[in-house]
């Protein structure tokens, strides 16, 4: 921890323990960590995400007690065993399956918060990179978990995603064989995915520990992006933010519960209630909603290898963001131009997500069948994906040049001036 420890052992036992394993001091320092006083509710997603990880690990360990990772047994152990026979199995699986979606809702808002307030900028680059690593691990874990029920979508999702890796030159095919353990997705694949699906959440937990460590060295960013200057700028993490995070987690749990109890299958696909069949592909394969934008980028490009590279690059851009954005102003509150492009970027990602869920040949406006521009059928899902993907990548180019040429608004002297003296901020602009 970067702040000086304020813990004073009060009893003899505490003093004895403190000189041997200062674990009480460690916990006390986390609770008293000086945190900017102006954090808003967008800053509660870190706490919400920790909650999600715990929920997924607890429910996952329980589900593993009833799951059979074999080609003949997996589907039955989930759909009959867990969903019908195991006491409260339906509830635990409902929480685990919907929990994955909740986890991604929270992580996307957490990432967008980080981009908006410039939380990736110096001195928080390592914090940001560790977050990107967690996000990639989450996608890998969620993908492998989705394979385990061994329904049609599980099987064909696994096939399509593992074949993506096969597109890479030289190393692609051997890696795909290592993932499959056979000539195709099969029993060995299911077994190893189960093993890795159990392992990765603990790897995520370890990287989360590094992420929190990297947070506690520079301390939190805040909505103004202005550095903390004195003790009056901060409050103790507990009780101020434990209560704020707790309230946010409670609201989040209400939304979570609505899905678990009233819409348990709303985010799933009916095809996954059909046992995996290696001889028949479902008519329309789509990944889970949280992967749709990347899937749309993949489909937008007619070349296999370039499509796969674009898919990887779209996530790679996030890793590179701290070095793309050269602006010294962190928060987009004071960067109106950057803010506008950022909001358009969110719209482009939403378009990509929608495109990813549609048939590739689908039309945007059903009535306009033959709308062509210079011989290209612009009125199609494919072309909307292409324009959106172009903006997705173009945004990072724009951000680079904005960092060099943009005129930001005046930044307040301290993080609480905008609250206490709103006029003090507006004045220099005149």
């Amino acid at each position: 921890m970067s702040h000086p420890s304020t813990y004073e052992p009060k009893t003899g036992i505490e003093r004895w323990l403190d000189s041997r394993l200062p674990i009480v001091r460690f916990s006390a320092d986390i609770l008293s960590f000086p945190t900017p006083r102006n954090l808003n509710y967008w800053y509660t997603f870190g706490g919400i995400l920790s909650f999600c990880l715990v929920v997924q690990i607890v429910t996952g360990i329980v589900l593993a007690m009833h799951y059979d990772p074999s080609g003949t047994g997996a589907f039955l152990s989930v759909e009959r065993g867990i969903m019908r026979d195991v006491n409260y199995g339906w509830l635990i699986r409902g929480i685990h399956a919907n929990g994955a979606s909740m986890f991604f809702v929270a992580v996307y808002l957490h990432i967008l918060r980080g981009i908006y307030y410039g939380s990736y900028k110096a001195p928080r680059e390592v914090l940001w990179l560790l977050g990107c690593v967690i996000y990639v691990l989450m996608m890998a874990t969620a993908f492998m978990g989705y394979v385990l029920p061994w329904g049609q979508m599980s099987f064909w999702g696994a096939k399509v995603i593992t074949n993506l890796i096969g597109a890479l030159p030289l190393v692609g095919k051997p890696i795909t064989t290592l993932l499959w353990g056979g000539f195709s997705v099969d029993d060995p694949t299911l077994n190893r995915f189960f093993s890795l699906h159990y392992l990765l959440p603990f790897v995520i937990a370890a990287v989360v520990a590094l992420h929190v460590w990297a947070l506690h060295v520079p301390g939190n960013n805040n909505p103004t992006g202005v550095n903390v200057k004195s003790d009056t700028d901060t409050v103790a993490f507990h009780p101020y933010y434990t209560v704020k995070d707790g309230f946010a987690i409670t609201l989040f749990m209400i939304m979570f519960a609505v899905f678990v109890f009233y819409l348990p299958d709303a985010l799933g696909k009916a095809d996954n209630a059909i046992p995996a069949n290696p001889l028949v592909t479902p008519a329309h394969i789509v990944p889970e909603w949280y992967l749709l934008p990347f899937y749309a980028i993949l489909r937008a490009i007619p070349d296999k290898l370039i499509g796969v590279l674009a898919l990887g690059g779209s996530i790679g851009m996030l890793f590179a963001l701290p070095w793309i954005d050269r602006s010294h102003v962190k928060s987009m509150r004071y960067r109106p131009t950057a803010r506008m492009y950022f909001f358009i970027w969110i719209v482009a990602v939403a378009f990509l997500g929608w495109c990813g869920s549609q048939e590739p040949d689908g039309k945007l406006i059903p009535g306009l069948e033959s709308f062509n521009l210079i011989d290209y059928p612009i009125n199609s899902v494919t072309w909307l994906s292409r324009f959106s993907a172009l903006y997705y990548f173009g945004y990072f180019v724009i951000v680079f040049f904005l960092g060099l040429y943009e005129k930001p608004l005046p930044v307040p002297d301290s993080l609480y001036t905008p609250v206490l003296k709103p006029s003090a901020v507006a004045a220099p602009a005149e």
């Binding site: 993506l164 195709s184 060995p188 190893r192 490009i301 007619p302 070349d303």
Partner: protein, 183 residues
Amino acid sequence: MAESLTQSVSDPANAVDPSRRDFIHIAATAAAAGGVVAVAWPLIDQLNPAADTLALATLEYDLSKVALGQEVTISWRKQPVFIRHRTPKEIADARAADHGQLKDPETDAARVKAGKEQWLILLASCTHLGCVPTFGGGDYAGWLCPCHGSVYDTSGRIRKGPAPKNLYVPDYAFLSDTKIKIG
């Protein structure tokens, strides 16, 4: 011997002999690296197909069950394989396209056995991302992949869409007039 050893240790120049210290560092590091590689290889290679999986490598199939114009999908090495009994029109269409603009140029004759042009044996995995294409879709009267819209002609050659290659023709041989062995 003992005397010279004592001498060399007591001699300040020899006591910090950098080349001897380096040798120990390099040797220890090399031994550790070799050990890591020796342990890593079995841990990686166990992911490759096991002997029982590889044992499923060949399959015999009786073609007489497939009527003219019919297609059956069989499982070989846990992968779907199309066996299509082609109509004369399909063969003619495929040959007519031999010199058309093909993404992965290959003649129809190279994809079937001579004298057995009616039998088209294909690995039913789209060369894009491995979905099973459905017959009768697309603009070339062949196959359409439901996943990302790749279109194959009546010879299983890629004509449109993101797939880079023609549908793969597995190794097979005619054991008799109506019996083939795949693999």
